[in-house]
Structures are given as C-alpha cells and as structure tokens.
C-alpha cells in the first residue's frame, strides 16, 4: 500500500493491513481535521465552488460533479431552515469493498468530509446510512463520532463558532436498492425502500421533504484534502481527464486481489497486472467488469484504457464504483452472469415491471442454459429482456445496471452460451 499523503490522500492513514486510524489524536497528528478547520474559515458558497472546480465526481457510480450537486441546494432567506447531509454507506455493489475499507480503517476521514459538506450546504444534521452487515465499520464510526464531538469538532458551536452539526449513524436493514439515493431516503424515513419520482430531486426535497445532499462514502472522503490543498492540487492528482485519486479494486482469479488508491486515469492493465499481480498461473483474462456487478463486460482489448469515467463510457461500459471483477478463461461466463442476475432479481424492490418480473425470468433462462436445458431461441429472449431493461425503460437504474453484464456477455461470450445449448451441459464443468 502506498502511503504518500500527497499522492494518496484517501489512504494516508491506512498503513499496512493491521493499521487502524480510529483514534482521533492519531488522525489529527497526521493532518486530520485540517480541512474541516479550514472550511470553517471559508464561506459555504466558496466551499461548493472549490469542490466544483476541483472536478470531484461522485464515487458511488454515477460520476456526477459533487460541487454541482451541492449547488442545487436552495440557499438564503427563503430556503428551508432544515437541510440534511446523508452519507450513502450502503455498499452492496457486487465486487465492491472500497467504502468498507475507508470506514473501518479511517472513520474520521468520512466524518470530516461530511462535516464540510454540511457546512457547505448549511445543514445541521447528517446521517450515515450504513449497510447492516458492516458492523465493525458501524462500531468504529460510532466511536469516531463520539470522539469528534468530545473534541468540539461536531455538536453545538463547533470550535467555538456559530456552526453546529449532529451526525447520526443509521444501520440499514439491508437492500441493494438503498444504494439508490431516493430509496435510501425512503428507508431512512422508515418507509419502503423504493426509489422516488424525480423531480423533485433530493437537493430540493429530500429527507422528510427537506433539501438533502446524498453522497457516497468515498466522495465525502475526497473533500477534506480537496479543501485543504485546493482545487488545482486536487485536479493534478489525476493522470487523465478526471480529477483526484480513487480506490480501485480487483477481484477474481488474480494473484493479489485487493483495493488500492491510485490516480484517476490509471490504465486498467496497470491495476490488474501491477497492483493485482496479474492472472493466477495458468489462467488467461477473458474479460472483466470494470466497475462492479452492474457494468458491461469489457474484453482484453480494453486493458489499456485509463480508468476515467468518460473513457470507460466510450468503450461501452461504466466506471461505476471502480472495482474490477475479472473473468478468467476457466470460469463459466454464463454462471457468472447467472450469479449476478440472481442477486439483482432478489434485490429488485418490486416497483416496476421490467425489473420485478423481467429479472426473475432472465434468471430462469440462465439457469436452464447453465444446466444444459437451454434453447437456441433463449438467446434472443435474453437480448430482448436486456433491451427492455434499458435506461429510461425502468423507474430507476437498478435494472439497466443488471442488464449490462447480461447484454455484454451475450456479445462477448456468445459462443459460450451457444456451447451450453448445443452440448446440453456447461462446458466448464
């Protein structure tokens, strides 16, 4: 793990596998809460501007400019007096474990980032909506919140000034859809976790109808050093088009699966071959999902692409959470897609038809193909189903995301599907 604070601001406190920076004193010794102290000297509008200028894009998957998102929150005399900041810590994207690392190992960084965001939009209450299974992260965050409060960095009249902020931790009952920010807000309010209709967007009417900013854990963690070091410095961290650094991860049959903080725009080949140590002996890379389970497969020909939002989009996939799932030549792609689709079908909230009824059907077709009971016409049916779940056809992004590995696998690994059907069994067994 690289630990240079100037190139690895997100993980500078995470040294080696055992090290945990949960102690506020150590966090502050290593430069913690400097961004927060500095932010309190600035006008809230200025912070929004810096974050916008820094080019920080949402790390949850959509890649929307964070500062721009904050700027939609109404300000001034006529605006509602109550506003909220909410951290989306419901990390459930298949193959993704970056937020967990940040929260378990450096909880104060998240709190600092949320505090700055709250100050920027003039919110007095913040919630961390954390996946229920993240018990360790939750415990450490609780402790960190208490420490920060004790130190006068949260709570009433922070550092003797006018600003006050309460941060609450909410452990989710568990649902992938809670990663969708409006479903998260419904769940936080104790309602069914189904996405809300937009408009109104949460920035205008979010939690309990009040202006609300929802950001991913990693997004908030980028804010302290962006504020401390400035927008120009932050932009300079990236190697390509996009600004800053990012946690990239690799899972699959590589020699050294894990997660690393690297500059935005790091080539995929570098991540897989240098950081993840390349494929395990005897295996070849057949394809990979660049940004978690809900992104399109890319093939070996895409290994030299930089991990930038737009570059990956152009290649026909999404950078998503930046956590790569590698498919090797000894693993059945149909089985992989089936596994993913089972997850998405189970996690569908049940609101709209293509997702609720389409995904289980896809699961049944894939099961049949995997079991050697597939029919040639099943491939068209799968393509049709994937198209029906396309963007705009469904209520939220869950089904379009679920369709991405299906539709791309049908393109990249079509022969595997055909082999299953013609041989009447899974050729990988």
């Amino acid at each position: 793990m690289l630990t240079n604070p100037l190139t690895n601001p997100l993980t500078k406190n995470i040294r080696g596998p055992e090290n945990v920076a949960t102690d506020i004193a150590r966090y502050e010794d290593n430069g913690g809460y400097r961004g927060w102290r500095k932010a309190l000297q600035l006008a809230p509008e200025e912070i929004v501007k810096r974050v916008q200028d820094g080019g920080l894009r949402g790390r949850g998957g959509a890649g929307f400019n964070t500062g721009l998102k904050w700027s939609f929150v109404p300000r001034g005399e006529d605006s509602p007096s109550v506003k909220y900041v909410v951290c989306n810590a419901d990390e459930m994207e298949p193959g993704t474990f970056k937020d967990r690392l940040l929260m378990e190992r450096d909880p104060h960084l998240l709190i600092e980032g949320m505090a700055i965001a709250a100050y920027a939009i003039e919110a007095r209450t913040a919630y961390i909506f954390i996946r229920g299974e993240y018990a360790l992260a939750a415990a450490r965050l609780e402790l960190a919140i208490a420490e920060a409060k004790e130190a006068g960095l949260l709570g009433s009249n922070i550092l003797g000034g006018d600003f006050s902020l309460e941060v609450h931790l909410h452990r989710s009952a568990g649902n992938y859809i809670c990663g969708e920010e409006t479903a998260l807000l419904n769940a936080l309010e104790g309602r069914r976790a189904i996405p809300r209709a937009k408009p109104p967007f949460p920035q205008v009417s979010g939690l309990w109808g009040k202006p609300t900013v929802v950001n991913n854990v990693e997004t908030f963690c980028n804010v302290p050093h962006l504020i401390e070091m400035g927008a120009d410095w932050y932009r300079g961290l990236g190697r390509g088009e996009d600004a800053g650094s990012k946690l990239f991860g690799v899972s699959g049959k590589v020699k050294n699966p894990g997660t690393w903080e690297l500059p935005m725009g790091t080539p995929i080949r570098e991540i897989i071959e240098e950081h993840a140590g390349g494929m395990q002996d005897g295996l070849k890379l057949k394809g990979f999902l660049p940004g978690g389970g809900s992104t399109d497969f890319l093939g070996p020909q895409h290994l030299d692409l930089p991990m930038d939002y737009d570059a990956i989009s152009k290649a026909g996939s999404r950078m998503g959470t930046g956590t790569i799932i590698v498919l090797d030549d000894h693993t059945c792609p149909v089985g992989l897609v089936l596994n993913l689709t089972q997850f998405f079908a189970r996690e569908s909230c049940g609101w709209c038809t293509p997702c609720r009824d389409g995904l289980p059907w896809v699961v049944k077709i894939l099961q049949r193909i995997e079991n050697g009971e597939g029919l040639p016409e099943d491939l068209d049916l799968l393509r049709e189903q994937a198209a029906r779940m396309g963007p705009g056809n469904t209520f939220c992004a869950l089904a379009p995301g679920a369709a991405e590995p299906i539709q791309s696998a049908l393109k990249l690994f079509e022969q595997d599907f055909i082999d299953h059907i013609t041989k009447g069994c899974c050729p990988y067994l």
Partner: protein, 942 residues
C-alpha cells in the same frame, strides 16, 4: 392549448396533463395499469410506453412512459411505432409470467382490465417456461375476496387504500416479484372505502365477495342508472341484476360506481356498495299481507301485534279501495305518513291521496326542524352548497359536529383530498405537475387546515389539524364565537375557556385567510343551534370576503331534504299528529304509512299512542320492520333498484333513479298501489280520478313539479317514457347478454316477452341503444376493447370531466332568503351525578336502516354499545367491554361499554339506528341513567 402530433395526426390537448391522459382523451387506445384518473401517475407498470421524437428531423426517438411525460406544445410522439408496440407487448409478457391463466374461473373475467390490455398489446404467445410464483390469500372480511396469485403489482390497491382513502391496514409487503399486497394478518379491512379496491384493481385480486354469492358475468347483468339510498349524499350507482335461473325471483347481484363528477366521481363507500343486498334479504316483503282476526299469543308479541297472512293483491287493493270509498263518503278519516327514504313521487302520491292537511312527515318535531333549518340556511345567497370537486378544492375546512365518515362517507373522502391542497400548492411552486402523484406526495409538510369540533371523528382524525370534542351545545357556542370573531367581535369568544378561545381565533383567522373556505355541518348531532352556528360562520365569511362561502350540510337520509319541502316549518311532525289524533271526537281513522318504520322515529310510547288511535294501519314498505307488526294491510313496495323516482340530496340536487330490474313477487312502486286502490273504487271522485289516472312515473314527476315550483327541475332531470334515440329505447342489457332463451326454460320453454317499462324509455332486454356514449341513461359502461369500468373515460368530456350528455346539476328552486341573526346561547342543563347526557354517534354499518339488512353488512354490525369518557368510566366503575344498562324514560337497553378518550365528559355516545337501539335513537341527544347490569344478566350478549 398545446398542439401535439401523434403518429402524424395533430391534436389540440389540454394543458398540464400527461401524454397518457392526452392520448386517452383523444380516443387513442394506449394501455396502462398503474395510472388512475383520480390518482394520477407513478410510473410503476411501464405499460404506456410511447416514442417521443426530439423534433421533425428525429427519426429514432426514444421510449418514454406516457403517464410520466408532460405534453409539450409541438411535441411529436408515436403510439404505433414498432419499438413502442414491442415494448408494451413485452411488459404484458413480463406481467403474465406469474399471472395464472384462470380467467374462466376468475370473477374479474369479462370486465378485466388486464384481459383488455393484454388483447390491446397483441401479446398472445407464451414464451415463459418457468413455474409461477404462488401466494397464500388472506381473509379480508365479508366484503372482499383476496386472490394474490393474480396480482400484477400495479400498486393501485395500496395507493388507493393508503394514499387516497387514508387506510393503514393494507400495504405492499416483501420485495422483488414476491411483493405481496395484504394485511399484516388476516382480518377485515378496516377502511370504509375498501370496496373500491374491487374497481381499482385492474385484475381479479380484489373482487366483491357479496357478488360471489350470486355471481354472474358482467355481460349477463342488466343495469340502469340508480342512486344510492343509504345516505343523503346521492352517489350514482350502476346496480346489476339478473334472473335467478332456478325459478326463483330475479336477484340484485351487485352495485358498482356510476361516475358522476359532481358527486361520487370514481368512488363509493362500503355502505353504498354492499348495502344493496337488503333487497334480496329474507325480511323482504314481496306479497300483500293482511292481518288475520286471531289474537297473537306468545311471549315476544306485544299488545296490538298482528298476525299476517298472504292475500291476493286484488283482495288487498279491494280492501284499500273500500276504505277510500268510505273516506269519500265522509265516514272515515285518512291520514298519511310519508318517508325520507322514499321518492318525491311516492310521497307526493300519498299526499294527493290523503290531502295536504292530512299528510305528515313521519319525523319528530326535532328532526323535521333540523331539515327546515338546513333548508333555511341553504336559501341564503351568501352560501353555496359545494359539489365534491368544490370540497376537494377547499383550502381551509371547519367541520361542526358531523362524523362524516359515518354520516356522509363520500364527503369525508373528498375532505381527505382537500387536506392535501397545501402539498399541491407546494408542488405547483416547484413546478411539479399535480398528476405526478408520487412526486407530489413526497412533499412533506402540514395538511391544509381541517378543524373538527364535535362528538366523534372516525376517519378524518389523521388529517385534522385541531380537534375539539364536546357536546353539540358547546360546539354551537364555539361556532358562534368563530362567526363573531370573523365579523370582528370577540364578545362570544371571551366567554370560552382560554384554549378554546385560542382555537376559535386560529380557526377564524385561517378561514378568513383561505381562498376557498368550507364549512361542514349537518343534522347528525340533532342540534339546531349547530346548523345555525354553521350558517353564521359561513355567512360571516361571505360578509367579510364579499363572495359566497361553501357550506355543506349533511342530511340524514336519501330524500330528507326532498320530503321537508312538502311541509312549511313547524308543520307535519309526529308531535302534531299525536295532538291532532287526541284532540277531538273523530270518525274512524285509517293511517297509511309510506315506507317508514315509525319505531325509528319516536319513542315506543309515542308511536303506540299514534297507532292505537288508528282503526286500520296500511303500510307500504320493502322490509319487515317493527311497524309491520301493527299493520293491518301491507303492500310490498319496490326498492330503489326496482323502481323509478327522484331524490333530493343534501345539496338540494334533484336526481332520478331508474328501475334496474323488475324485482320479484308482487312488488311495485308505492304510488302504484295507491293508484290501483283509487282505480278500484266504485265511484271515483274527481280527486281520486287524478290518482287513478297515473300511468307513468313521469306523470307524477310532472304533477309534483306543477304543484311545487321548488321541484320544477323534475321535468328536466330525465326524458319521459316516450323518448327514443333513433326510434329505439335504451337497452338495460348489453349486447352480449346470454341465456335469453334458456334462463327460464326449466319452467317454460316458451320465451316470454320482456316486461315493458311504463316509466322510462328503457327496455328490460337487449333491444335498443346499448352505447353508453349515446345517452347517460345507459349504465353498462363498456366500449369495444374496454370491458372493464376503466372504459368510463370514453364517455367523459375530457379525462375526469362530466359524463357526455349529462345535464344538470338540477338544484331545487328555492326563494332566496337571508338567515336571521340567530342568538346562540348555552341551553344545556347542568350535568347531574345520576344522569348522563346521551349523544348520537354513527356507524357506517348499522346506523342506516336498509343496509343493515344486507347480509354482509349485518355480519359486521357491532352489538349495541356506548362510548363513555374514561373519567366517567372510572367514576362509575365501568370496565371496558362490560355490559351496562341504560335507562331512559320507561325503557332500558343493555349496552357493551367502550371507554373513549374523546367522548365528552358527562356524556354517553349511543350509536344511532344500530339494530337493537332503534328505539332509543329518536331520543338522542337526551338524558339517561347508566346502571350496572344485575349479576344474573351479565352472562352474555344482550
């Protein structure tokens, strides 16, 4: 008005609507599920996909959901584009993966929106090879069947039940394709509008359990426009009837909503939907009955109770005619008692027969005075009686003493919608279209102000911003204080306790600041000053704002306001009748009672005094009741669904109902029995000849209008029996009606000619006009490809507009007259330790006389009970659910005690009209003593 292009055709469409409703309004068939004209869009089913093109150059376009897309001036769309059609077919295919293929045994079949939409999309080939998910169904009470396997998860049920009707015991449970719409556990649905689920559900998950008891397909029902007879709101219904097929009498099989924008819109309450079954009940009178000479011996019989035997109608009419002849000869007096639950025509007929001076309302002085007060207040030009859409538009509401959920349920539903107006304002500010239902509802914040002051609030408690519970006298003082505050005087407010004064001031300020303030009160508290107070508040607002103020006054029964018009104030009540009967030496007396159970109108002693003065009692009615026991001659009266006539609703609106079916036995309209008796007289006098000459219902309608200019609209409400469309009558049966030649074949192979309708230009057959678009007289709402009730939009002037061809509303014509400056003073006597003040409370099931005999409703009516304040309960040692005895003047009743936190101290809430408590009802509010039941009697239910 935006112009849009759909598949190359240009259309002018209304502003502020979505593409789906714009398409439907233009007659373009676009399938949908989750969208509902009254509930807007949520984008769940994805069925209404169309292609939207960026501009004329754009050839590909993109798929959008019609219901979620606002119409854009100049917008170019395609419904028929190949990819849109394929997508819609695909959605149906997805929905069908789990929908059972059980249409032949599904009661929705033939009027199923899912069937229609499936046909519309052209999806016919099943490619899904998997098994279907199955659910366990729940027991939801005696009204609704639950068959969850059929669910396509459109979320309409819970959106209606929770969002629209305020229920909280039905919800979506679970997730993904296992999502389940039900209750936390089996049990009766608690919300009083649950029956609408039957119509809201696009398929057969929720079906009408009472209909299941005697089910036939929609296409086998004959129907006609009717009016719900179970309260005074006047909701329009389309009852359906059909021959029994087994030689038994034809049955009334169900009631569904008949859209009337101004009154019920798309929804009915459960009393109205399920109350119809009384006409099929065992207590139905279908034959002419005459008292036999023999004395009744038995423990349950009271003195004077008669034993009846069936007589031939001719014999009964002959007897009646002999009495009339004696009257003509001056040897007999004839007195008639009318009815608030019978038509204007029947009441008028009786009045003609007995003469205006001998015609009585059958109401106590207090009840009749309340109706005259309502009438008096409504005559004030500063007041207008609001339609249901007007109520839904109100932005501040004061409810005085009316537990709307139980006394005028459909109005309660409208108030619930009005409570959202503040949210809608907020949506407008954020430029969110109001049809974006989920977007609008997620805007949190306070409800629009709804203030309630009265004895009990059942369904609206969750939307009321402030509640004040007290006896009607105190509520009237509170109303008076508000009226005075609005006029600028705080004199009356200063007499109120501080918190009450503060509430009065807040209410006054809120009402004055509102754009559409609405006051609601009515007769249910049985307290005149409350109506006066409501009138004062409304006129005070009108004076200050210089526009008239909406005031809804709820009347007790379907034709209460109509009957009251026959009497001048102070005349025609039972007290006057008692006085009249006892005053002087007299000739033998015959009392003709029209569709009225006198034992519900006055205490048993008073009724006894009246009946004992009569030498004969002739009763015309539809159900056996307490008055029957004292009648010498009983004629079976047609129920609403079996007859034609007119009712005046609480708003003073005249509405006509038509015979849905012929009924069974010897039933006919009460006026026909009177006319028959008149024509049987050997010597027919001029007066009698008028009556004997009545042939058609319209003859009476016209006669009423001629004699009472108030009812002049009666001639315009509907056409007479000679009206024809293209030379044809309107068919009551649809063109798919089956079994015409077979249904009676068991008894007789010859086909009988259909019964001729002397009253309406309608046929009891398939012959004639069958299109609901041709005339609002057609109640078979159907359109090609649209077999379900969703097809109503085809017959509206724009989505949610008035029914095509509908005329009116026809208000009764009244001389305008300002209300006087009534003085409202505290009139209630001091409380005393021994006695409690009994106050009337109401229940949706049980308080109404007729619906209480419908089997399903009868099964859920509570046992006689009373509400007692917690403090009083503690003082008297009353335990919840304990039986106590209520002693009124000379009578006593066993009641199960319910402890309430809102029942005003020192009072007892006694359910009006509840079976077992009919006799005490007329004495509410009153005073009574509560005593513990002797130990020997506490064993079981009273």
């Amino acid at each position: 008005m935006p112009t849009i292009t759909i598949d190359g055709e240009q259309y002018q469409v209304d502003d502020d609507q979505n593409l789906l409703s714009a398409c439907l309004a233009q007659g373009i068939n676009l399938p949908y599920f989750c969208w509902h004209p009254a509930m807007g869009s949520v984008g769940a089913c994805r069925q209404c996909a169309v292609v939207e093109y960026r501009d004329a150059e754009d050839q590909r376009g993109r798929l959008v959901m019609g219901c979620m897309t606002p119409v854009r001036d100049g917008g170019i769309y395609s419904v028929n584009a190949e990819n849109a059609r394929e997508f819609r077919g695909g959605i149906i295919e997805d929905l069908m993966t789990n929908h059972p293929h059980d249409c032949p045994v599904c009661e929705e079949g033939g009027e199923c929106h899912l069937q229609d939409m499936t046909e519309m999309t052209g999806h016919t080939n099943r490619r899904y090879r998997g098994s279907k998910r199955t659910h366990r169904n729940q027991y939801l009470g005696p009204f609704i069947n639950h068959e969850m396997n059929r669910c396509i998860a459109c979320y309409r049920c819970t959106r209606f039940y929770r969002d629209y009707a305020g229920g909280d015991d039905l919800q979506p449970l679970g997730r993904n394709n296992q999502v389940y719409f039900g209750r936390q556990r089996d049990g009766m649905l608690e919300n009083g509008f649950s029956g609408n689920l039957v119509e809201v559900c696009p398929t057969g998950v929720f079906t009408d359990k009472t209909f299941s008891e005697h089910f036939v397909r929609k296409w086998d029902l004959q129907s006609a426009p009717s009016i719900c007879e179970h309260c005074a709101v006047g909701c329009n219904t389309a009852p359906g009837a059909r021959e029994a097929g087994n030689g038994q009498d034809a049955l009334l099989r169900r009631v569904v909503n008949l859209y009337n924008r101004d009154i019920n819109g798309y929804f009915l309450c459960d009393r109205g939907r399920f109350g119809y079954d009384y006409v099929n009940s065992d207590a139905r009178i279908k034959k002419v009955l005459a008292a036999r000479g023999d004395e009744m011996i038995g423990s349950t019989a009271g003195a004077g109770d008669r034993v009846h035997g069936e007589v031939h109608p001719r014999e009964g009419v002959q007897k009646f005619a002999e009495i009339l002849a004696a009257v003509q000869r001056g040897q007999r007096r004839l007195i008639g008692i009318g009815s608030t639950r019978s038509s204007l025509e029947n009441n008028f007929a009786l009045r003609q027969l007995v003469g205006g001076g001998n015609f009585y309302s059958g109401l106590s002085a207090r009840d009749l005075e309340l109706l005259h007060l309502v009438d008096r207040v409504q005559r004030d030009d500063r007041i207008h009686s609001p339609s249901t859409p007007d109520i839904e538009n109100a932005d501040a509401i004061l409810i005085l003493g009316e537990d709307l959920d139980n006394t005028a349920p459909r109005i309660s539903l409208a108030v619930r919608q009005a409570a959202r107006n503040r949210q809608k304002q907020q949506a407008k500010k954020l430029k969110i279209p109001l049809w974006q239902d989920a977007s609008v509802r997620q805007l949190r914040g306070e409800h629009s102000p709804v203030f309630f002051a009265g004895t009990e609030i059942s369904g609206l408690a969750d939307v009321a911003n402030a509640t004040l519970f007290d006896a009607p006298g105190q509520i009237a003082l509170f109303a008076d204080a508000i009226a005075q505050l609005i006029q600028g005087s705080d004199a009356a407010a200063m007499d109120l306790a501080a918190d009450r004064r503060e509430l009065a001031m807040r209410t006054a300020d809120t009402l004055l600041a509102a754009k559409n303030p609405l006051i609601i009160s009515g007769c249910s508290s049985r307290y005149g000053d409350l109506i006066r107070g409501a009138g004062k508040v409304a006129t005070a607002i009108a004076n200050r704002t210089a526009t008239n103020c909406a005031l809804y006054l709820a009347c007790p029964e379907v034709n209460s306001l109509g009957l009251a018009q026959f009497f001048s104030p102070g005349r025609g009540h039972l007290e006057q009748l008692t006085q009249e009967l006892h005053g002087k030496e007299r000739d033998p007396l015959t009392l003709v009672v029209l569709e009225n159970d006198l034992y519900r109108r006055a205490d048993p002693q008073t009724v006894e005094r009246i009946l004992s003065c009569a030498d004969e009692v002739i009763l015309l009615d539809s159900l056996l009741n307490s008055t029957v026991k004292r009648a010498d001659l009983i004629f079976p009266a047609a129920a609403t669904a079996e007859s034609q006539g007119s009712y005046i609703n609480s708003n003073g609106q005249t509405q006509r109902f038509y015979a849905v079916y012929e009924g069974g036995g010897y039933i006919q309209e009460s006026w026909r029995w009177l006319a028959d008796a008149a024509s049987f007289c050997e010597q027919i006098t001029a007066d009698l000849s008028v009556i004997a000459a009545w042939q058609h219902s319209m003859d009476l309608s016209e006669a009423v209008a001629a004699e009472f200019p108030t009812f002049e609209a009666l001639e315009k409400v509907g056409p007479d029996e000679d009206y024809r469309i293209d030379g044809l009558k309107v068919a009551r049966q649809g063109h798919r009606y089956s079994g015409r030649t077979a249904v009676r074949a068991k008894a007789e192979v010859a086909e009988f000619p259909p019964h001729l309708d002397p009253d309406a230009p309608m046929a009891f057959s398939m012959e004639g006009i069958q299109s609901p678009g041709a005339t609002p007289l057609s109640a078979n709402i159907w359109s090609p490809g649209w077999n379900s009730n969703q097809s109503i939009f085809k017959f509206q002037q724009g989505i949610g507009g008035a029914r095509k061809g509908a005329k009116g509303p026809f208000k009764i014509r009244r001389q305008s007259q300002s209300i006087p400056d009534w003085t409202i003073s505290a009139a209630e006597p001091e409380q005393d330790e021994e006695q409690l003040i009994t106050l009337p409370i109401y229940r949706m099931f049980g308080s109404d006389e007729l619906s209480a005999s419908a089997a399903a409703i009868a099964s859920v009516i509570e046992v006689p009970f009373a509400l007692i304040n917690r403090a009083d309960a503690e003082r008297l040692g009353v335990q919840p659910s304990q039986l106590w005895r209520l002693h009124t003047d000379g009578n006593s009743y066993s009641l199960r005690m319910h402890v309430s936190d809102t029942q005003p101290p020192g009072t007892l809430g006694v359910p009006c009209g509840l079976p077992g408590l009919e006799a005490v009802s007329s004495q509410l509010p009153g005073r009574a003593q509560l005593k513990p039941l002797p130990a020997t009697e506490t064993g079981e239910t009273p």
